[in-house]
């Protein structure tokens, strides 16, 4: 049973669920409690222990149906039991009469002995290690190995041996046709089974491969069709950051008795301490202003930067998001109303365009937002700093640097490009507390993590 469960968990991983070790242990114990006789009971037991979210549960149910169904050899061999007198003979014969291993297998197939075949199949699966299969091109290889492990070679060998006889008798001819039918049937069933298993196990490896590829690839190279996958990765990232961040905040929380203020307060009662006073550590609720360049030059990044902004709202309580090409536009409203796909497209549609101008953007910012920036505000700017040689308004940045707690610039371009062409990074960089390159998802995560570390700490 343990083995079956292990494989089932592998199949779950293939479909995107990620049960941990402790959950597998729970599942094992749960299965022992409810027993294996009751299929529904088993499903509920495994579902409660392995699938921990509602969407996860839907995936689980699907995989459960596919994994714990044994659809092989559903129909009896076509025509075998009726027209072939040998088959009746074989079925009627006592089992001890089966002499060679080939005979046993032949009979199993012809009488459609599902239990016996399932047993062989399981044994063969273990022998060839089917759970390691993960590429569709491996289907032939694994099918052949499985057949071999199940004893299918014997069928072929005997068929060949009999076929090479010079003058086959009627009985031999019958035997040959039986062998061929059985071999073909076995081959088909095993091949189908291997295909089903490949679907179950194969996905996990390929998915993981694609995920790692995506998180280290430059964001600009990621194609539109991977958008959903990216969305999921970024969402995951945001949640991971949220958890880390929550733990950090917790440590800073608890208040203790403030002896000095308690004593001072109770002087009025002649030193009898009636009223208590507490030390309150103010929990810093950082205000975050995020400004995202969505112009054509960073169009391929913008989508993901906006996605990150969207994800950040889960992590930080008070994020205001702005987007710009040349004028500053408050887009927080879009993010509140719509799901990420729609919100992002809408922002790109309405704010995106050509003619990036950081100068006008910063002037807008100075007018609208700068007065509200104080020591609790962190400002994140996402953009390449390419200003089309317009007036960069470094003075605004300098003022911002003075007022805000932190100014962070995340630049999707590689660091070596920063000083080239119309990039104003060399002039903006000194006005920022942190400047980081964030061209890939991994870099993005590091950048945001360090950002949270600094905004979360008490200032």
């Amino acid at each position: 049973m343990q083995r079956a469960l292990e494989e089932f968990v592998l199949a779950l991983r293939g479909s995107g669920l990620e049960p941990g070790l402790s959950e597998c242990v729970d599942a094992y114990r749960a299965a022992r409690i409810v027993g294996l006789d009751d299929r529904d009971g088993l499903r509920e037991a495994l579902g409660a222990t392995l699938a921990k979210t509602e969407p996860g549960r839907a995936i689980f149910d699907d995989v459960f149906e596919r994994y714990f169904s044994f659809t092989m050899f559903d129909e009896p061999l076509p025509g075998a039991s009726e027209s072939d007198p040998g088959a009746d003979d074989v079925a009627a014969r006592p089992p001890t009469d089966a002499r060679t291993p080939t005979d046993i297998l032949l009979r199993m197939i012809e009488t459609t002995d599902r239990a016996g075949l399932a047993g062989r199949l399981r044994a063969a699966e273990q022998q060839v290690g089917i759970t390691r299969a993960w590429l569709p091109t491996q289907r032939g290889l694994y099918t052949r190995r499985m057949l071999e492990a199940m004893g299918g070679d014997g069928l072929i060998a005997e068929e060949h041996a009999l076929g090479s006889l010079s003058s086959p008798s009627a009985a031999t001819a019958l035997r040959i046709s039986r062998l061929r039918a059985a071999r073909e049937r076995l081959f088909e069933e095993v091949r189908d089974h291997v295909s089903r298993r490949l679907v179950l196990y194969g996905k996990s490896a390929t998915e993981k491969l694609r995920d790692t590829a995506l998180s280290t690839q430059r964001l600009s190279n990621i194609e539109r069709r991977d958008f959903d996958r990216m969305l999921r990765l970024i969402h995951k990232l945001a949640r991971r950051l949220a958890t880390r961040h929550a733990l950090r905040q917790r440590r800073q929380r608890r208040g203790v008795l403030d002896v000095r203020r308690t004593l001072a307060r109770n002087v009025a009662y002649g030193g009898v301490l009636f009223e208590t006073r507490w030390k309150h550590r103010p929990i810093s609720k950082p205000k975050v202003i995020a400004i995202c360049d969505v112009s054509r030059s960073v169009a391929s990044y913008a989508r993901f930067l906006l996605l990150l902004l969207y994800g950040l709202r889960d992590v930080l309580p008070d994020v205001r998001s702005f987007a710009f090409t040349h004028r500053l536009v408050d887009v927080s409203g879009y993010f509140d109303r719509d799901p990420p796909h729609i919100a992002i497209e809408r922002v790109l549609d309405q704010v995106g365009g050509t003619g990036t101008n950081y100068g006008t953007m910063l002037r807008d910012f100075a007018q609208q937002e700068l007065p509200k920036v104080d020591r609790r505000t962190a400002v994140i700017i996402l953009g390449d700093g390419r200003n089309n040689r317009a007036e960069p308004e470094v003075a605004v940045m300098r003022e911002l640097h003075k007022r805000a707690r932190r100014v962070v610039w995340l630049n999707p371009e590689p660091r070596s490009f920063w000083a080239l062409g119309d990039s104003e990074m060399p002039r903006y960089a000194p006005c920022c507390h942190t400047v980081r390159e964030c061209g890939t998802l991994v870099q993005l995560e590091r950048a945001v993590d360090s950002l949270l570390r600094s905004t979360g700490s008490n200032g």
Binding site: G20, S22, V34, E44, A48, T49, K52, E54, R57, F274
Partner: protein
């Protein structure tokens, strides 16, 4: 640490039947999950829309096991002092003042400061002892002599920090009070956490719990619930009532009517002595089911179809019985 004494049920079905004696009608999924929770000694995370009986489940379970229910309602800003324990500072301070003379006596004859300190040290734990401890729900749950059902209600309303804190408790059933040492559960409590999904819970929390999602019940199950909870209601009326509610759930509403609202409505109908689900009656009492102005408007617009569906469902049911 002892385990919570649970009667020996032969399996999930048996347990489900036992739950029914507590007037809690549950699906097999619910029964199996709770049964496993009891036997694996794991906390159970119950999710689902508001009003499908998540809190009721905890109550029914507590009365079935014959142990008290300790309930902790979560809200934003909930912290350890409110959830776990607090020192009765006022009492401590008051006692030191009242016992001032006694302390003076104690100190008499101590010639040096060291001696005085020495004597004080002999009594220093006095003011941080049980009698000055104010236990809050979590500590209370750990100290219940016969165990209990601990209901952490609406965990999604608490801050993520509190959720992280809860992890310590859920994995070992023990907590440390710095002044007293580690308090571990006398009897491991059965923990139920409920969530309405206003916030995504952390993976760490989910990993530690068994998961149970309670959806709106199927019509047959809901009929059974109505029958058990409001036995006064005539069977044919219950059938059309449940069918009507199911029709409403198919509409695009802000807040769908839950089981608790179905039961409220059933009671209303009993109070009004209704013997048929007429359109006027529905119009007058719809506000028991729907709590938003817009929802009522939407439902009224779609009333004829929903009524029709309810009527035909009732007919089918009548024909079958």
């Amino acid at each position: 640490m002892k385990t919570l004494h649970a009667p020996n049920y032969t399996g999930p079905e048996d347990f489900l039947a036992a739950l029914q004696t507590q007037q809690y009608i549950a699906s097999k999924r619910i029964g199996t999950a709770v049964y496993l929770g009891l036997h694996l000694e794991k906390p159970l995370l119950v999710e689902g829309p508001a009003g499908v009986g998540k809190t009721e489940l905890a109550k029914a379970l507590a009365s079935l096991l014959g142990v008290p229910l300790v309930r902790m309602q979560c809200y934003e800003g909930l912290d350890e002092a409110k959830a776990l324990y607090e020192w009765k500072y006022g009492k401590q301070l008051l006692y030191t003042q009242i016992l001032r003379d006694k302390l003076g006596e104690l100190m008499q004859g101590a010639s040096t400061l060291e001696q005085a300190l020495e004597r004080l040290h002999a009594h220093d734990d006095l003011f941080y002892s049980e009698s000055f401890l104010e236990p809050r729900p979590l500590l209370r749950a750990l100290r219940e002599p016969a165990g209990c059902v601990l209901l952490v209600d609406e965990i999604d309303k608490a801050d993520p920090e509190f959720e992280a804190f809860l992890l310590e408790l859920l994995s070992d059933y023990q907590i440390s009070v710095p002044e007293l040492g580690t308090v571990s559960a006398k009897v491991r409590p059965m923990v139920l956490l409920t969530s309405n999904g206003t916030r995504e819970l952390s993976d760490a929390l989910r990993r530690r719990c068994l998961h149970l999602h309670i959806p709106y019940p199927e019509a047959a199950l809901e009929r059974q619930i109505v029958h058990t909870r409001v036995p006064e209601l005539a069977a044919h009326l219950a059938t059309s009532l449940v069918a009507f509610v199911h029709g409403l759930r198919a509409l695009d509403l802000k807040k769908h009517p839950a089981v608790s609202e179905t039961l409220d409505w059933a009671r209303t109908l009993v109070l009004l002595n209704a013997d048929e689900l007429g359109e006027d009656l529905v119009r007058d009492t719809l506000t028991t089911l729907l709590k938003h102005e817009e929802d009522v408007a939407t439902a009224l617009a779609a009333l004829p179809q929903v009524m029709q569906a309810a009527r035909s469902a009732a007919q089918v049911h009548a024909a079958r019985t």
